[in-house]
Amino acid sequence: MNGDIWSEVFDFANYGELVVLLRNSIIAGAVLGVVGGLIGVFVMSRDMAFAVHGISELSFAGAAAGLLFGIGVVEGSIIGSLIASLIIGLLGSRARDRNSIIAVLMPFGLGLGILCLSLYPGRSANKFGLLTGQIVAVDDPRLNSLIAISIVVVLGLLLVWRPLTFASADSDVASARGVPVRALSIVFMLLLGLAVAVSVQIVGSLLVLSILVTPAAAALRLSSSPVVVPLLSTLFAVLSLVGGIMLALGASVPISPYVTTISFAIYLVCRLVSWRRTRRGLSGRVPLTTRTVMQ
């Protein structure tokens, strides 16, 4: 009995052949890791973890509607995400407003998605995939659309990187210094919507936070450098996704539990490291005495 469960969770027979077969999934995981790791840094600094969750539920509703009406899952999830992120971006410029808007939108989106799924006459395997992630299978057209959207998100982020950092850290001063804070916030929400939409297709809407939030949160435990944090966060996200997909290859379980477990484990290790650092009093401060000696 026990053995059966283990062989469903881990099965590495014919591993070499599977890796070749599932090359697409691994590429998809790596690309998604870059997107999630980079945008996650801004999700953290703009305190938008809850918004990510809200958008992903509407993305799920969109995907379900896309399935039901034959528009396509990818198209549906993108439309759902973008609508949600625009609503949140336009109505919720203050944190308190934003949280209540998300809390109102989220169950509505989830309900709508469940309605569409129950009306959908097709196979049920597709249905749960949208919520909890796919059993590894990414075909070529899907991989291409995922890569195209990811490129848009990454290029968009790089373009607005510096003013967005300013606006996220201190919007009052940024706005006084001529940074278009409001426009940047809308641009960011649209990029976030796209990032969520591509993530939903791989890990499912319930688990998107593990790619868009956990890696960045872990990286922030180790550093406060604006260069190191995005790099670490990207590394963690890629590790979680590619690692999760590699482990899931032989199993008949969706990839999401592997991804979320690795990403959670990385976070735990980072917390432990930062806790030990604090205990040893490593704050990064240069005591005045050594500085005078150096000069």
Partner: protein, 289 residues
């Protein structure tokens, strides 16, 4: 006399039927330190927003360096109430200062030796070299304000706008931050408008006081404005100004109306009462009962 950096002529600001101030004429000279006082809701912060181009005047004009005020002029430095992002922001003190230099530019910042030297110089000017590489989330309130002043000094501002920069700092840090601003405006010759509800930390530094209350205003040296008869006339009710041990205490001001943009401040006060009320209660100006 040199040209003023900032000129307000017959300026008025009203929200609906409520006039915050009107007929305001003000010239800020280079290197001049002006405290802006008044009760909550008297339009102190709104005055700064007008100068920053984020709020339109209801009447009159504002000009900065001889040109009409515009939004996002980087020759104006701005230091707001202390409230900075927490642990979620990957920025060190030096990065925050660097944003003052180039945070408005698009793209990803590339390493630049020239910018690094400039940032180091600004950090040294505000005495923040010691914690240059520490995350802003772990800095104390006083340290954050020093770094922010360093950021505001980037790009050689001609005018520095400070909106309650001492709020929730203890007395030592209030003193240190005020002295920093005072020294820098002399060295760099920029004008300062310093919004505060408590003049005492900066009493011996300011050149003039702009007191906003009851829809009107008074401008002059602290000795001219902070007097019982002047403030009583401004408020239209009896107000006593008590001078003791080099401090000024204003007693009996009716607290400003609530439900106004400046109300944030009232909120802040209540919030920070534990640490803040302690240090400054004897010198409160603006008359909390």
């Amino acid at each position: 006399m040199t040209d003023p950096v900032l000129t307000l002529r017959d300026a008025s600001l009203a929200f609906g039927p409520r006039t915050l101030w009107s007929g305001l004429d003000l010239d800020v000279q280079p290197g001049e330190f002006i405290a802006v006082l008044g009760s909550n809701g008297s339009g102190k912060s709104s005055l700064l927003k007008v100068i920053l181009g984020q709020q339109r005047l209801s009447g009159g004009s504002v000009s900065f360096l001889g040109a009409p005020g515009r939004r996002g002029d980087r020759r104006i430095g701005y230091v707001p109430q202390q409230k900075l992002a927490d642990d979620g922001t990957p920025l060190r003190a030096r990065d925050l200062v660097a944003l003052g230099l180039s945070g408005h530019r698009w793209g990803v910042p590339l390493p630049s030796a020239a910018r690094r030297r400039e940032v180091d110089a600004l950090l040294a000017a505000v005495g923040a070299t010691e914690y240059a590489n520490v995350g802003v989330g772990t800095l104390s309130g006083g340290e954050q304000q020093r770094v922010r002043i360093g950021q505001a000094l980037a790009g050689e501002p001609r005018l520095l706008l400070c909106d309650e920069p001492l709020l929730s700092l203890d007395l030592t840090h209030q003193r240190a931050v005020s002295e920093l601003i005072d020294r820098q405006r002399r060295e760099r010759d920029f004008g300062v408008l310093f919004v505060t509800h408590d003049i005492n930390p900066i009493l011996d530094m300011v050149d003039r006081v702009l007191y906003l209350a009851g829809g009107g205003f008074r401008i002059g040296t602290p000795e001219e404005v902070l007097r019982s008869e002047v403030l009583s006339e401004l408020y239209g009710s009896r107000v006593d100004v008590i001078r003791t041990h080099g401090r000024v205490i204003v007693v009996g001001t009716p607290d400003g109306a609530h439900g106004h943009p400046d109300d944030q401040l009232a909120h802040h006060d209540a919030h920070d009462h534990g640490t803040h009320g302690h240090g400054t209660a004897p010198g409160l100006l603006g008359g909390l009962p």
